[in-house]
């Protein structure tokens, strides 16, 4: 029996790429779901590729179990750098999810939620701002207290309730625009960079964006932040909403391509990887692939840029720090080791690497909300690894990882002794501390 779904698989999947998998199994030890499923081959990259290929070849039907395996993949892409054949697993996964999504009839509530998220909210930065306003009101009024007291959120599936507690406090909406389209760096100009604001980074994680700006300026960078930019579209692409992702990609390329900058800076591994993948996303769009390539070549993570520039002497109080890398920063952007380099530059703190740090923390975009069981199993193991380092600070390089680590701290009841922080916030703290000490010294000098 050949179903429509099977037909679409055959038409839309890149069969040559599927053929590139030699089934050597080198990917198995890198895969968090393979390990956490008790070594279930179907939960491994090799198994998932076999399933996709089996569907394309008509040997198996794309039944619920196959779909479940494809959904259970974190998309962390840790299997790609370890694949000697260079199989583009992430792209295959997105193709498969797009096909499934096209044929899926979701239940009404899910359909509405997907529409609201993918088609409405994340398609416009203005709407993101409006939601931010609502969140601010929610926190300012009694609403939050009532919701928390009523334990209403525990009725929701997954970790919604934990997540509600760990998201950063909303900054007043009027502050969201406290930046100029062009800002000069301090001192001698070293680089001219464009800044990718990000939809969640520009609202929920606004403080982190401001820290990023402070660091860039301290390193002598002139910053251009085009107002017209949008969400990177990574969530859409991972969720099988390719069309929407393509629209967003085009708008972003248009917003950035004529800026004459040395780099486009992102401070979220997930977004940066989304931007890096534009040439793949736009491969079938006439005249766009080249523009996408020119754009994505410039995309760089903040940690990579800062590691090559001078921030001056940095010092923080004596603490053990560990780092949970963003999978997409390392496996897709392929920018590795720079956060560690930056941490080693900060005097006072001691950086201790945790075992298996290159294993996904289970956040993976919205994975922890839609696949809570696996996500929490992975997180619990991660927290064991964190504990072994004796760190009181967990540094991250992506907002999803940050929230996940915060959730881990909550689950382990470690809120009094351990905190999670984005690398740029940690570095910016050191700079603010330095500035205020210099300010004090300056004041003291003036008094005498």
């Amino acid at each position: 029996m050949t179903t429509d779904l099977q037909k679409s698989f055959k038409e839309q999947m890149d069969y040559d790429e599927l053929m590139n998998c030699t089934r050597c199994g080198f990917c198995l030890p890198s895969c968090p779901t393979y390990i956490n499923s008790g070594q279930n081959e179907a939960s491994s990259p090799r198994g998932r590729i076999a399933l996709m290929k089996g569907v394309v070849e008509g040997r198996i039907e794309p039944d619920e179990k196959v779909e479940q395996q494809l959904n259970e993949c974190l998309g962390c892409r840790a299997c790609e750098p370890v694949c000697p054949s260079g199989v583009q697993y992430g792209h295959l996964l997105e193709q498969a999810r797009t096909v499934i999504n096209e044929h899926k009839s979701y239940s009404l509530p899910v359909k509405m939620l997907r529409k609201a998220t993918f088609n409405y909210l994340f398609m416009s930065s203005k709407r993101m701002h409006r939601v931010h306003q609502l969140r601010w009101l929610y926190e300012k009024t009694l609403a939050q207290k009532l919701v928390r007291a009523s334990k209403l959120l525990t009725l929701f599936p997954g970790e919604v309730e934990t997540m509600e507690r760990v998201v950063p406090k909303t900054v007043p909406p009027k502050r969201l625009n406290e930046w100029e389209e062009v800002e000069k760096g301090f001192g001698k100009q070293t680089k001219r960079v464009a800044f990718f604001n990000g939809c969640l980074m520009g609202t929920m994680f606004y403080e982190t964006n401001q820290s990023t700006r402070l660091l860039l300026k301290t390193a002598g960078c002139e910053i251009v932040t085009p107002k017209k930019q949008e969400c990177c579209g990574a969530l859409h692409a991972h969720g099988g909403e390719t069309e929407k992702a393509i629209q967003l990609a085009k708008r972003n390329i248009e917003a950035f391509e004529n800026l004459d900058v040395d780099a486009v800076i992102s401070n979220a591994g997930g977004c940066g990887a989304g931007l890096k993948d534009y040439p793949f996303l736009l491969r079938k769009e006439a005249d766009w692939e080249k523009r996408a390539k020119a754009f994505s070549d410039k995309v760089t993570d903040i940690s990579t840029l800062l590691a090559s520039l001078d921030l001056g002497p940095l010092e923080l109080s004596d603490e053990v720090v560990t780092y949970q890398p963003s999978c997409h920063l390392e496996n897709v952007m392929k920018e590795k080791g720079n956060v560690e380099k930056l941490l080693r530059k900060v005097n006072g703190i001691e950086y201790v690497a945790m075992v298996d740090k290159d294993k996904c923390c289970g956040s993976a975009g919205i994975y922890n909300l839609v696949q809570p069981k696996m996500a929490m199993r992975i997180l619990d193991q991660k927290m064991v690894d964190v504990a072994e380092t004796n760190a009181s600070v967990i540094v991250t390089s992506n907002p999803g990882c940050l929230l996940q680590m915060k959730a881990g701290i909550e689950r382990e009841r470690l809120t009094d002794s351990v905190r999670a922080v984005h690398i740029v916030d940690l570095l910016a703290d050191a700079i603010r501390k330095r500035d205020s000490e210099e300010g004090d010294a300056h004041a003291v000098r003036n008094r005498h």
Binding site: F26, P29, A42, L51, G54, K65, V66, S85
Partner: protein, 474 residues
């Protein structure tokens, strides 16, 4: 499809969670790392103990259903492809290191332990488990024992069989036997341990193994020698051994393989050289220094373009890691990669290398060569496309010629990958008909129902043996 009653009986043994006959599960256990082989089993089972394995075997015997034990499925001879259907037996729940005995220098393990974990655990006790197949990060020790896996250190340290001292095995009749033990000497009857190692799951199901450990070498040095042609490199290998130096590793890599590996590993390998020898020596500091010096001199005398010593442990590690990726890295070139492991006496290495080269030209197929030169164990690897049937036919002919040549040179059709289903048709070339019959008699005695991994080792039909036309006067 399994009989309903049988499924019920299996579930009674292991519980609902550890037996499945779902389409998805059967599909993902339909293959191993061997290209061109795929067949779905009828069920997948995950026992937790030897007793459960015994009960499973008894049930399978009652219903005449084959059993295929499987580790991580990285073998290259279709040894774990369930080509006769039946049940795939997984050891994911029998994966503990049971004991490390520092007085007898042994480690006792369950079959599902990853090879790398064995190595790491030994290192933790300042001991050493030498066998290191390229898939050691992924493969299980059970898989290694069943295939008698080799690796990069075979020349000096031997292979898996040299480190298995004792086994616990469930036989086809459901009985458990224990062979060998923590004994340096043991001549009580036939050496069943050696017989079972490398038997590819056809004689019994290994449920526990006692491994031999050795003291950890104090020092290690790694060196890379570059050559402008394949034969000089191959001759240098024989020269080193003839000079009575036994390095821990002596690997041969040709130019196309180097290019493929470099494009994956990006560690600055010398892709301009036509052939490279990766040489490693371990042991006492003074011995290592002396051997490395001798080998460097021999390489230079034989005409190496350059010989360089790895500057740090990291650099040395990167080199050996890169070599381990060779097979799969080659797969970047074409969709299908077929790898063989013809092996000859070391002294014949250069002859085999040039024969492989000529064969590749004769059949117009792309064959790259790398491998454990010090062991005379080469991995001629063919990059092809299984969709192109005409080309596949030429590939098969080329490999048949290579097997024939290897046997003619006093070698074998497989040095370390096993026979499985893939090389079964060629087994008689190495053993002769009487040799195959002797083995078949053992199989029949231990597994009269042909329950355990049927279709492996013994082919339904043997390939007609090729007699190579002698070239010239040689």
């Amino acid at each position: 499809m399994l009989p309903k009653e049988m499924e019920q009986e299996l579930i009674e043994v292991v519980g609902k969670d550890r037996f499945t006959s779902s389409k998805e599960q059967c599909y993902v256990y339909s293959y191993d790392a061997t290209p061109g082989f795929q067949a779905e089993p009828d069920g997948v089972i995950r026992p937790t103990s030897t007793t459960e394995v015994q009960e499973i075997v008894r049930i399978c015997s009652k219903y005449h259903v084959p059993i295929v034990p499987r580790g991580s499925g990285t073998n290259l001879c279709a040894g774990t492809t369930p080509t006769s259907g039946g049940i795939v037996l997984l050891f994911t729940h029998m994966n503990s290191i049971l004991e490390i005995d520092e007085e007898n220098l042994t480690m006792t393990v369950q079959p599902g332990v990853l090879t790398l974990d064995v190595v790491k655990r030994a290192e933790g006790a300042d001991l050493f488990y030498p066998p290191d197949p390229s898939s050691m990060k992924i493969s299980t020790i059970g898989g290694n024992i069943n295939e008698n896996s080799g690796g990069l250190r075979g020349l000096k340290y031997g292979v898996t069989k040299d480190y298995v001292m004792g086994l616990e095995v469930v036989l086809a009749n459901g009985e458990v036997i224990r062979t060998g033990g923590k004994l340096a000497k043991d001549v009580a009857g036939y050496d069943m341990t050696k017989l079972l190692v490398g038997s590819e799951g056809t004689l019994g199901i290994i449920t526990e193994a006692t491994l031999k450990l050795v003291p950890r070498p104090e020092d290690k040095k790694t060196m890379l020698a570059l050559f402008s042609d394949l034969e000089t490199a191959a001759k240098t290998v024989s020269e080193i051994i003839a000079n009575k130096v036994i390095p821990a590793t002596l690997e041969f890599i040709d130019q196309p393989t180097l290019e493929a590996v470099e494009s994956f590993a990006k560690i600055g390998l010398p892709t301009k050289a036509k052939a490279v020898l990766l040489i490693e020596q371990d042991g006492d500091e003074a011995v290592v220094a002396k051997d490395i010096y001798t080998m460097k001199r021999l390489c230079e005398e034989k005409g190496a373009i350059s010989v360089t010593l790895a500057k740090s442990e990291e650099e040395a590690f990167a080199l050996t890691e890169a070599r381990r990726s060779a097979l799969t890295a080659l797969a970047r070139r074409r969709p299908t990669t077929i790898l063989e492991d013809a092996t000859v006496p070391r002294s014949k290495l250069a002859e085999l290398v040039s024969f492989i080269n000529d064969t590749s030209k004769r059949y117009n197929v792309e064959i790259c060569t790398f491998g454990h030169a010090g062991d005379g164990n080469l991995h001629p690897t063919c990059m092809t496309d299984e969709r192109d049937l005409e080309e596949m036919e030429r590939v098969e002919k080329a490999f048949a010629d290579i097997f024939a040549k290897a046997v003619e040179l006093g070698g074998t059709i497989t040095g370390e990958h096993g026979v499985g289903e893939m090389k079964a048709p060629y087994l008689a070339w190495k053993l002769g008909d009487a040799g195959v019959e002797a083995m078949r008699a053992i199989k029949k005695a231990l597994d009269p129902q042909d329950l355990l991994n049927p279709g492996k080792v013994f082919a339904k039909e043997s390939k007609k043996r090729i007699v190579l036309a002698r070239e010239g006067a040689k």
